[in-house]
């Protein structure tokens, strides 16, 4: 087709005017929507620097001065550092385990032909249809009987091999050329070594995608940690933060300032990291959609 880019197609003046107007409208709408998206972040960060008086009598959107009392409070009146550590450990360990188990299973499904391969794979994919809420009660019973309440194990182990992850890794590994595997086999490499030293390095981008998605899901997860963790020092960030505003003794004001300081410290790092690596994240989401 010799047709050049749409914008250079010659059209009558009226058309050009209308399409210019449409472009203007689109840019305007995106900007208005964008302000709506940014505003909560501005409020969150600015409230985290406000004094209690300013929070309850807000005259301006921005704080009059940057006072750090809310942040100091957060670390002295609540075990915030502990929550942060717990969240890091849980999300980090979950991610490592997911990367290992999903890539291993994905390797088997993409590079071996074995009896029941299709059935086993679709069985696993079907499990992605099971919504988590149905599992809350039975998992709670199981975890309680194992004595895992208030422990990080309960937050990590049930989520170590999600079907989506296996699917993603299988998709990436399909592109690893069979000849590479065969030639390493000739050299006497074990099957596990082929997986670890040949295949894994090639699917680095896939691993990165899976890592980002898993880490963020675990970091932000709320329902399950809320179910399993009761002890304050064992809480992850979302549960601890929710607890800050709900576990307030009657009569006293809710600690909004420290809560916004916590929200800032929880959101800003993930948003910052996301902006750096968003192309992996978006690739992962899109690849789930494209069959």
């Amino acid at each position: 087709m010799a047709t050049p880019r749409p914008s250079t197609v010659v059209s009558p003046g009226r058309h050009r005017f209308l399409s210019g107007l449409a472009d203007l409208g689109m840019n305007f709408a995106v900007a208005i929507g964008g302000i709506f998206m940014i505003l909560p972040f501005v409020w969150m960060v600015s409230a985290s620097f406000k004094t209690t008086t300013e929070i309850f009598r807000p005259a301006t959107l921005l704080p009059s001065s940057f006072n750090l009392n809310n942040y100091l409070d957060l670390f002295t009146r609540w075990p915030f550092a502990q929550w942060f550590t717990n969240s890091l450990i849980v999300a980090g360990a979950t991610t490592m385990a997911v990367l290992f188990f999903c890539s291993l299973a994905g390797f088997a499904f993409s590079k071996y032909r074995f009896r029941g391969r299709k059935q086993l794979f679709f069985g696993l994919l079907g499990s992605a249809m099971i919504p988590f809420p149905i599992l809350v009660i039975p998992l709670f019973v199981i975890v309680s009987n194992l004595g895992w309440t208030n422990s990080m194990v309960a937050l990590i182990v049930p989520f170590m091999a999600p079907a989506i992850g296996i699917f993603l890794m299988k998709q990436y590994m399909e592109y690893v050329p069979q000849e590479m595997l065969d030639s390493s086999r000739m050299d006497g490499a074990s099957e596990f070594r082929i997986y670890a030293q040949i295949v894994l390095p090639i699917v680095g981008p896939g691993l990165a995608t899976l890592a980002i998605i898993t880490f963020l899901n675990s970091w932000n997860s709320f329902l399950w940690p809320l179910v399993v963790v009761r002890r304050e020092v064992s809480m992850t960030l979302p549960v601890g933060m929710a607890n800050m505003l709900t576990a307030v003794s009657a009569g006293s004001a809710r600690p909004y300032g420290p809560a916004m300081a916590a929200a800032t410290l929880v959101c800003i790092p993930t948003v910052a990291v996301f902006l750096l690596v968003q192309r992996y994240y978006i690739a992962g989401i899109a690849s789930g959609a494209v069959k």
Binding site: P131, V136, A161, V271
Partner: protein, 300 residues
């Protein structure tokens, strides 16, 4: 078949080589049975018992199901959840489609910046962001009421009134899910062959006509996929109403999953809560089937 490995390991290592893929998927399958399939079946079993945690479970047949059908709060939570799902399907999805078209358009300025702005909410903690909106909607000191007052409008009790309390929940859902949903549509848009548009251009079709006759039909499979995902996700809403209102006032915002949590985890009524979970599972399953059926009929 397992024969491909035989050529490589001709020397009695045959059995081990055939077993290799099974050992590789064994950990994943073990976890799958222990923490998904097993518990799912266990949940169905529990739903036929009265089980209060400490006392031994007692088989009561379908009594839990009968009681749920007569449980007003359950039906309120169903109605609320349907409101959340409808907002997701009929507000979030169209907005996401428009956003994707804008982000895909060559005439949008500052594209990288706007992408970042709209995608950033995806990775924020629902708890943190719901708490932020909790302040924004506060009756006394929230930005929204302050703005209303400056415009001379009476402040509203957003979170404390049964009529209004669902609105903040829906706003948070829109805020957090539109960007994510638009990523799917973006992927769909980028998969539409460019020569379709070129041909339409030659025929003199304007952009509205192109949208109607090319973009929408081409996006149909992706729209189906997105609508299923959005429906499944929105039927499981928990974080947003839990933080904003705790399900109140008078259950006006309580979602089905919140009700499950209330009964099962706060009141230790495992049997009853497991029944709610099973009903939710069946509804999600049936609704997605229906949705796929409807769309497939339209496509063919």
């Amino acid at each position: 078949m397992a024969t491909s490995d035989v050529t490589v390991h001709r020397d009695g290592r045959l059995t081990r080589a055939t077993l290799t893929p099974y050992t590789f998927i064994a950990p994943a399958y073990g976890l799958f049975f222990a923490f998904m399939l097993g518990p799912a079946l266990f949940a169905i079993a529990i739903s036929f018992f009265r089980w209060g945690g400490l006392r031994p479970p007692e088989f009561i047949g379908i009594a839990n199901y009968q009681r749920i059908i007569a449980d007003d709060v359950f039906w309120i939570s169903v109605r609320n959840t349907i409101t959340y799902s409808a907002s997701s399907l009929f507000v979030v999805m169209p907005l996401a489609l428009l956003l994707a078209i804008a982000l895909n358009s060559p005439t949008l300025r500052m594209k990288t910046f706007w992408r970042a702005v709209y995608f950033a909410p995806i990775v924020t903690s629902t708890v943190a962001i719901s708490q932020t909106f909790l302040m924004l909607f506060s009756r006394e000191f929230g930005l929204i009421n302050i703005t209303l007052m400056r415009m001379g409008v009476e402040p509203l009790d957003w979170l404390g009134s049964r009529a209004l309390a669902r609105i903040p929940v829906i706003i948070v859902i829109i805020w957090r899910w539109t960007g994510l949903t638009s990523i799917y549509f973006l992927a769909g848009l980028q998969g539409i062959p460019a020569d379709l548009y070129d041909a339409a251009q030659v025929d003199g079709a304007n952009r509205l006509l192109q949208f109607w006759h090319i973009t929408l039909p081409q996006l149909r499979p992706m729209t189906l996929f997105v609508s299923v995902i959005v429906l499944i996700g929105s039927l499981q809403v928990f974080d947003e109403p839990q933080i904003l209102t705790g399900g109140g006032p008078a259950n006006a915002t309580r979602s089905v999953v919140q009700y499950l949590y209330l009964r099962g985890i706060e009141q230790f009524r495992f049997g009853y809560a497991a029944t709610i979970g099973f009903i939710l599972f069946v509804s999600i399953f049936l609704l997605s089937m229906v949705q796929m059926g409807v769309f497939q009929k339209k496509t063919s």
